[in-house]
Each structure stands twice: as structure tokens, then as C-alpha cells.
Symmetry: C2
């Protein structure tokens, strides 16, 4: 691509970036670096995620949704630390300059950025195979970040929102499933809502936290391994959406399949956190931004890191992906 | 790639990262975000650059040098702001897990990181076409960052080091050039030394600064446009390396070619800055980390943004790439 074409891209993202200069941004796009102000008493939280065509999305994905999701997955990592999103860098590699595509991509990206008051502070546009790397930065009160390593024996295990819809949405893109309304599940997959407001509310209450990107059980493993404990999850308490319950009722999805999506599906981007019973009762006095469900509790360290229970009894659910996961971890 | 293979990559970069926990890093690799401490009185400087195979480098490039350079170009952006490098995120997309390649890539990356006391604080590894996105973060005393926009009429224009070697190195990779020693020029291209020490020394002295990635004239344009002034450059003052002067003496390179490389070649990663005569004389009292040469001065705003002079007279040098650049900017 010629300089002129790249100039156009930079100008495009610069114009759309109306929040710059109002968010601790002393210097935004247009110099060698961005220069940013952190408020006193805060630490910087930084996360980076890449989305690559053919791996994380299909080349013909709706660009609005790709722009939206490439930011959403990064904001979700900030949410998992209790951090308030502030700034984002975007490195985008494109096979060619395609103005309608860029227009839609940036519309999706900035629709979510505006909602969370996030300012684009720089990045890079390059010619090459389509991929997006987003680095999001947020602020968190000093020494208050929600880590994976703080879970204590006896803590409750909680999850925000509902689980499994995104995984069913992904399945419906690969297979022809007889669903009453597949769009709601595809929306859950592609227009995921990062839980940054809830993440901030969990500060001073939750003992550990992670966002669910790879599936509840896999991400719970990260918590119990970092915290040197084990967990039990009551499958009867799994929060399923009304849409998922509707599909079960219509016999489009079995209960076993719904559990598979909820426990091992991934792409939920809900917050999974642990909290003492005392703190949980205090937390519930707040007007929480999202629904929170208690799904289990933390036990002492054990060779079996995560047990599933039903009516108080340990069950052995055959989940696809489960053996593979255990083998690799 | 399986989870296991990606685990290996993460572990690999984690092990090599011996500086973590000693650089304001409260949480490094291994949680949802890194958590970083900025010292009081400092601002955050952030830059992001992507290197894509087939665009910025050949797929068969020496991985040590690719690892080194992918960090070097980002540190150079921090140098141009006068920022001290602290932290870096690395997003790397690979067609397959190739341990010898990764070992060499990370050796080059960390050799430079150690030299500048930079800590790897996170990133992402993905399967896909080879590309590298680095986001480097540094600190700069509040309101002291060196911007492009501060040049004043009458300021001297200075450049660090020597110019043109990297461009000749690049040319020697495309064409068979009769050079006495092409390795020194290829080294200048691939093992570029970012000028972070000098950048810090320029704080409180330089009125504007940029690093030369696209060629002296093109990057000088960024300064004079941001500062609303014009510039004149005396081509007789161009700092050329002993190696380049040797090739001219041997008639392997003409003086005109050497000027072309020095003025419009790019890939120098030297600092280009403006400074008042008073500040320049004060700066020269310091033990500067790199050679600095005065190459011109800043004039009042004008339609012609950059004039080249020889013996005080404006000359019209026919530089390849020059018209293309003017047209696009």
C-alpha cells in the first residue's frame, strides 16, 4: 500500500476518536508515542490479544462485529482484574485497503469504545494477512487488582450472567442446528458484553477473579491452580439463559448438551470469581450491574482440581474437550 | 496448535524473563492483565509497531535478528519521546511451533531487553501467518516528553550517529553490490541500536524530536509540519560512517548514492531533534552517550518545507522516493 492509503487509514481512525484529550491523554495519535496520565493512587493494567483470520474468525466475518469483539475480549481481561478501561492501541494488518470494510470495522470498535469511555491512543496499520492485535490499558486502585491467586477454602464460587450461549452460537455456525432462534446465540458469541462495571464493583469483595474465555472448567482451573486449592461446582446451579432454556424445552438442545456448552464451551466472557460468604452478603446489598449466581465452593487442595456435583453427590459428566484439557494441563 | 504447545511457548518466554518483579511489575505474565507501578511525577509513554513477514522482513530472516529488531524499533519510538523503556508486550503469530526458531527469536529479543532493563509483561501467541506486534511502554517525567511540535525558528537541527548505513544494507540484500564489507551495513539495518540514553539526555534541551525510521527528509517533514515551520539541511554536514566513506573512497558507492541513502533511505533509527543554540552549547557540556551532528536549521513556515543547501546555496537534489513522498504528504 502506498503512504497515501495508509495516511487515509490513520486519518480515519483519528477522526473517529472523539474522546482523545479527555481521558488522561496528553498526547494521542500522531507522535512517536502516546503520553498518558495515571491518577494518583492507581496502577496500570495492561492486556494484549490477537485475533487472526482463519483461527479466531473467518475472513468474511462481519467487520462491525470483528471491530467490536477485538476490543471486547481485551476489555473483558481488564474487567477480570477490576480495572477501569481507559486507553487502547490497535495494530491492524490488512490484505488491502477496503474503505467500506474499514468503516464498518471502526464503527464496531468505536461503538464499544464509547460505551466504556475508552480512547484509541495509537497503533499501526500494515499490509499483510488479516489480523488484529489490541492492547488495552486500564487503571486499578493500588494493590486492589483482582488476581487469580486469592481464592480461600470455604469461599463461594460465583459467575456473572449466563453460560453457554456463545458456545451454542459457535456450534450453530459449524453445524445446521434446529434452533428456534440461532441469532440470539450468534449475538452472544459476537457481540459479547464485557463486565467492566461488575469487575469494579467486585474490588474489596472478591478473593479471586478471571474472565471465562476458554470455558468455565478450564478457567476455574487457572484460579484453583494459582490459589492452590480445589473447587466443586453444582451443575444444577448453572445459570442458563431464557433462550437456552427455551431450546431445551423445545427439545432442540438436550440438558446434557446445554451443560456441555455452559461448563466447557468458552466464549462466554462472564466473570468467574470467588468470595467469602461474609463478603458475598455485603456485595448483594449493592445494586450490582449484572446478575450473579453462586455455582459452587472452594475446597482444600486436591489432586482432582474441579469436582462436579448434583444433589450434593459427585458426578462424572462426560464432557467433550475435558480429557484433552486435563492431558495438556 | 494444541494447548500444550502454546503452554510451552508461554513457559519459554516466562523463564527467559528474569527481570520481572524488579521493575515496577506487581503482576507480570500469568494473570488476565499485567499490573504496573508508575513512579510519582512520571507519565506513561506507549508505542505499538507490527512487523509482518513479506512486508517488513523475509520469512527466512534470522530469528535472532527479528526478535532483536522487533523490540528495537519500539524502543526507538520511546527514545524519540525521551522516555525510559520499562515494559513490553509481545503478540506473536506463528505458522507452527518451531522450537529452534523460537529459541533464537527470544534470545535476540531478550538480549536487547536486558540491555535496556525492559521487562516482558505479557502478550499472546497465536497460530497464523508470521507477524510480530510489540507494544513498548516507558516512563517520562511529567510534561517533559519530547514532541514533534516544539521546533522554533532559529533552532539548530541535529542528528545522532551516522545516516544511510541501514539503507545501504537493505539495498545490498536486493541487489548484488560490489562493497568492501556488506555485513557492516546489514548489521546497521538489522541490529539497530535505539538511542534511549541520548533521548533521556535531550529532555530539558531539545525543542522537538523524532526517530528516523522512514528517512531523514520524511521524518523532518513530520517535525516541521507539527511545528508549523520549515527547515534547511546542509548536505555537506551529513554524518556518514567510516564504512560508508570507505565505500565512497573505493568507488563502490557514489557520493550522490550515499546522500540518497542518508537523506531518504530510512531504517536509521537515529534521533533527529531541534534545539536552540543556547541549549545546544549547554547540552555539549554533558558527556553525551552518542555522537551528535548539527545538520541544519529551522526557518519560518513556508510552502517548501525542507530545503537542501550546499555551501549556503539551495540545491535541487534528485532523490528517489522524494517525489512519491511529496505527493503523498
Amino acid at each position: 500500500m502506498s503512504l497515501g492509503e495508509f495516511d487515509l487509514i490513520s486519518r480515519y481512525f483519528k477522526q473517529t476518536n472523539e474522546l482523545a484529550n479527555d481521558n488522561g491523554v496528553e498526547i494521542g495519535i500522531g507522535d512517536d508515542c502516546a503520553i498518558l496520565d495515571l491518577p494518583d493512587g492507581y496502577q496500570l493494567a495492561v492486556t494484549t490479544d490477537s485475533l487472526v483470520a482463519g483461527v479466531h474468525f473467518f475472513e468474511d466475518v462481519c467487520p462491525y462485529r470483528l471491530g467490536y469483539k477485538s476490543l471486547a475480549v481485551n476489555l473483558s481481561d481488564l474487567a477480570a482484574m477490576g480495572a477501569e478501561p481507559k486507553w487502547v492501541s490497535l495494530a491492524i494488518t490488512l490484505p488491502r485497503v477496503d474503505e467500506p470494510w474499514l468503516s464498518e470495522f471502526s464503527r464496531g470498535f468505536f461503538d464499544l469504545a464509547r460505551k466504556h469511555n475508552v480512547t484509541l491512543i495509537g497503533g499501526d496499520t500494515t499490509k499483510g494477512p488479516l489480523s488484529i492485535t489490541v492492547s488495552a490499558k486500564g487503571i486499578v486502585p493500588r494493590n486492589k487488582a483482582l488476581l487469580r491467586s486469592g481464592a480461600q477454602v470455604g469461599d463461594l464460587i460465583c459467575v456473572s450472567g449466563t453460560l453457554g450461549d456463545g458456545a451454542l452460537g459457535l456450534a450453530s455456525k459449524f453445524d445446521t442446528l434446529a434452533l428456534s432462534d440461532s441469532a440470539v446465540f450468534v449475538d452472544a458469541l459476537e457481540l459479547t458484553e464485557p463486565r467492566n462495571q461488575l469487575g469494579k464493583q467486585l474490588i474489596n469483595y472478591a478473593s479471586s477473579c478471571i474472565d471465562i474465555s476458554d470455558g468455565l472448567i478450564q478457567d476455574l482451573h487457572h484460579i484453583v491452580e494459582a490459589s492452590q486449592c480445589s473447587a466443586q461446582i453444582d451443575v444444577e446451579n448453572m445459570p442458563l439463559s431464557d433462550a437456552m432454556l427455551g431450546e431445551i424445552k423445545m427439545h432442540h438442545v438436550t440438558e446434557q448438551q446445554a451443560l456441555q456448552y455452559a461448563l466447557a464451551g468458552g466464549d462466554d466472557y462472564e466473570l468467574l470469581f470467588t468470595i467469602s460468604a461474609q463478603h458475598y452478603s455485603e456485595l448483594c446489598l449493592h445494586n450490582l450491574s449484572d446478575k450473579v449466581t453462586v455455582i459452587g465452593k472452594i475446597n482444600a487442595n486436591n489432586d482432582i482440581k474441579v469436582n462436579l456435583t448434583k444433589a450434593g453427590e459427585i458426578i462424572n459428566l462426560q464432557l467433550a474437550g475435558w480429557d484433552h484439557f486435563k492431558k495438556n494441563k
